[in-house]
Subunit: 227 residues, 6 copies
Amino acid sequence: MFELGVVHRNIRRADAAATDRLAAFGAATVHEAMGRVGLMKPLMRPIYSGAQIAGTAVTVLLQPGDNWMLHVAAEQIQPGDVVVAAVTAECSDGYFGDLLATSFQARGARALIIDAGVRDVRVLTEMRFPVWSKAVSAKGTIKATLGSVNVPVVCAGMLVTPGDAIVADDDGIVVVPAARVAAIAEAAAKREALETEKRLKLASGILGLDMYAMREPLAAAGLRYID
Amino acid sequence: MFELGVVHRNIRRADAAATDRLAAFGAATVHEAMGRVGLMKPLMRPIYSGAQIAGTAVTVLLQPGDNWMLHVAAEQIQPGDVVVAAVTAECSDGYFGDLLATSFQARGARALIIDAGVRDVRVLTEMRFPVWSKAVSAKGTIKATLGSVNVPVVCAGMLVTPGDAIVADDDGIVVVPAARVAAIAEAAAKREALETEKRLKLASGILGLDMYAMREPLAAAGLRYID
Amino acid sequence: MFELGVVHRNIRRADAAATDRLAAFGAATVHEAMGRVGLMKPLMRPIYSGAQIAGTAVTVLLQPGDNWMLHVAAEQIQPGDVVVAAVTAECSDGYFGDLLATSFQARGARALIIDAGVRDVRVLTEMRFPVWSKAVSAKGTIKATLGSVNVPVVCAGMLVTPGDAIVADDDGIVVVPAARVAAIAEAAAKREALETEKRLKLASGILGLDMYAMREPLAAAGLRYID
Amino acid sequence: MFELGVVHRNIRRADAAATDRLAAFGAATVHEAMGRVGLMKPLMRPIYSGAQIAGTAVTVLLQPGDNWMLHVAAEQIQPGDVVVAAVTAECSDGYFGDLLATSFQARGARALIIDAGVRDVRVLTEMRFPVWSKAVSAKGTIKATLGSVNVPVVCAGMLVTPGDAIVADDDGIVVVPAARVAAIAEAAAKREALETEKRLKLASGILGLDMYAMREPLAAAGLRYID
Amino acid sequence: MFELGVVHRNIRRADAAATDRLAAFGAATVHEAMGRVGLMKPLMRPIYSGAQIAGTAVTVLLQPGDNWMLHVAAEQIQPGDVVVAAVTAECSDGYFGDLLATSFQARGARALIIDAGVRDVRVLTEMRFPVWSKAVSAKGTIKATLGSVNVPVVCAGMLVTPGDAIVADDDGIVVVPAARVAAIAEAAAKREALETEKRLKLASGILGLDMYAMREPLAAAGLRYID
Amino acid sequence: MFELGVVHRNIRRADAAATDRLAAFGAATVHEAMGRVGLMKPLMRPIYSGAQIAGTAVTVLLQPGDNWMLHVAAEQIQPGDVVVAAVTAECSDGYFGDLLATSFQARGARALIIDAGVRDVRVLTEMRFPVWSKAVSAKGTIKATLGSVNVPVVCAGMLVTPGDAIVADDDGIVVVPAARVAAIAEAAAKREALETEKRLKLASGILGLDMYAMREPLAAAGLRYID
């Protein structure tokens, strides 16, 4: 958050295979597997419904109303990356449109997560380049002031270190530290397996009250039924 | 709003047939028929477009970050019910996901109205289980503290008594007291009949100014036309 | 903003052909061509995705909770107009629904831009009558107090003079003064031509850093690369 | 919430002596004594700091932009009452100013709680007539549409029944059901007594960790100290 | 709103004596005298309580994060002016601090109204230089991009033409067109005279119901009293 | 942000003397000296006006609705510290009141910065224990779930590492990395010296336009004066 004007070219990316596994679980399951930490604020919303991705973070620290560093970041993108952009102050300008999306896609980026605004959302949707942002705005930006690329940033209330795994879908965005990706993927897989079984039981009409054996603890907590 | 730790098993549900009639009119027409009271705050939004439902309210009072009572509520659901959930404090957590939706659907619930967040929205959309909420969040909840089921609650600014009829669509959510459902359905039907006729006139180019005979009252109020 | 109770019948509309040209460029490109002024606040959102329109402004100044003037405005609509409605105070009521939309469409209106709420959004979507608003609400309005038609209004933070060209799409809404429409269409066309060329280069993997010759100014500004 | 156009003249007010006792405890202590229910949303703020009151609720249901019912309510005020005003829709208009405050004060009202705006706040402050509101606005209101007096209302998210005790200070506003006022005053007094003792211990440097015997449960929950 | 890079040196200021008269009435009374138009949005708040001013508007159009034009505006200030500053996009930066306030005060400015943030608020309060803003922020601004001085601007939702009279106090900010200042001062004086009389009556216990002869219209509207 | 259930007892605090120097400069000057980074979001507001402090950060990561860790943090406080508290999710509950303030003050804490709510604000004000928070709420919290003490946290959008210097006043809150405190104090002192001189010139009527030699760059940027 404190370093302006630098680009770190070598970052330790989370393991690619483990990161890829995370995509299938989605943000809610991964967030549970993390022990309920790592979630960005829910004001971040996808520009279209249905995208569900995971990738390794290339981070960008932007100045308000200035998207110069997104061009610098493009060169640092490797296939499988997700660009995570923070701004040094509140800004809802449209930092990113179809031209940058074309460039990011050509470099192999899977998505953009930006704590600001985007534009050309109809075209981005047609291109199927997923973006999570806090605003949509036709207002463009200039290219005049330095920020940084691949420094730790705070995006939508969450610290992101370059190389962290990012998991995003319609439910939100979770940040998984690079060192923990394999373990979290394992934990998420276990949760998922259990859920399939539960879903079948619930669909057959079995109540959560019975499936989770909640009646006794509820009574112990003092729940009273009144007829 | 003041009673924690109780579940009322016997509630007086609004007449089923009259409640069912309300669905076709939608929230805006029913709200007019009510005399313009009974509407929840417009920050409540559907997770997908196009759902239009009516049902009888099973109410839930939840604690922040805790969805225990939704499981207790599941047992109280009868076919045709809509679960209406309030929280004792502001909370945007994802209280409800595809597992609970599976259970609610198996019990015959038609929808969930929740003054908090939900998750698994892509799956809920595929399941066609409609939810109106004020947030979407991957953040799950715990099961530790008692709330209540089938007590009067305030949801999105509106008082809901168990058994009230709930009408919800893309325009919002209206609460109809159980005792008035038949009368309101009647009034809504009358409005609807009038509207069809008006629609045809307006489509043919007749102005509202003439159709509603507004020119005289406008002039009386002092409206001046300037060429 | 200061004149209540008047309807100006003769307004100088922006050139129709030039206004029509603006639609194809969309809000972001037109906003750039304007020199980055003229954009309404980004809290204005379309009721459905994908609409992209341009038209000449018929303005309406409404009172809170009262849509009387929308009926007065309907008579002033000419084919190719866009109705732009402001309110004298904050209000999220549903001022506009399918009946008024039927009337506006019959008069040749292309869209409604309203700094308040709308309703019947499912039907409006089926009718393909595009609306940009700051809220959706089932709450209807009364017809009791005079406002004005075709006076200058402030809508979502932007001054709109009757006859101005309005350009709106999923990115937002831009207001182009009537006298500048032809020049802005020209400037937008030039931008668009350049962008097509750039898009091809970026898609081939050329970086913005090189295409825009940014490496030298970035170095001059002090950007440091760290391996 | 559903009844317009009525004034209930006879309401069962909470016991006056018990209500008066509540004032000294303040909102936070009374809220704890209630079991953490009954608090209005924290967006309600006092117009000046330092007021701390309790009184019995005379409720008012207002229409947006219309303060007619506040005049009707004035007649129902008895010494020791607090007027609690809700609106049938979101509105930040200034419903209440120094004239109404003069009238309310002459009738013996202790405060106004209003889920809307107020004005003349400098004069109200000089008069020492405390108001909690969600907005301050110079915008006045009209007197044209009926609401109700002394019906149950939802104010800032909380149900208020006429005659309930209201406790308000800089921390917020708590609603105590009339039937429970004496018991809650008793519980609050006990909490208060305990707190004085604790305050002295903490001021002497004793840690909450020891005073509340938290070290063991923290260790049991897994807290690790790292040097 | 559309003109960047210009400074109008000659503006037609509202009559000084009439403008000065407005200060004593305050924003609420002047707003009523205006027929309830001209009020800025209530999110604009004074940095300290109790200031009540009127003056003639020198307008400034600023770029986001850039306060260059405030220095250009300083030269255009004449004794009795109020600087009204708008920004071309949402921004909460601290555009104005004690240095600029020193300069503005030396030039004879009476206040600043800014649709953005300010800083050094403790010192500004000690200097008794009143500011109404939508934010307080320590974040400073740069001096790099042109805006304009003395062009029409939209500030907090209201159109301000250079030379308009501005009235501001704890209740908000009202804009009075230069040509109407004398008439509005007259109308406000009449309102004020009536209010003093009413205040005495209400203080003596007479009800608004009787003083305003409301009982009959209330009954006509259908108000029912229930014992 | 990712570590729950740990307390780091040994942190490297910023140099005490250099940190103490920062207090006199205030948040705005220190933020400038930092190169305009390090500022928390402006929604953080002091509970009373006029406090201006600096100290070394003891950080706390809290769970929603649970203030257990504030008691754990109290033991880690050393004279001259400022407690900086973040929450793992949005929460406006009143985590901190006069009892904890008594304990913190007894331990030598200078202030609390909390990205949530506080209560007992009247008493805290009388105690002159300064708190910056995003909300005031009478709603208390429980003591049930582990968070952490002295781990890096994101508070109001800014990363805080334990031991960082915190500078807070009415303008906001700035975080200075421990290693840079002496250098920043030096830079701030230089700015301050220059400002005193400038203030005298501006007070004498010299314009910023001349003092900062802006006329030429403004003309070069194309500013036009119109008479």
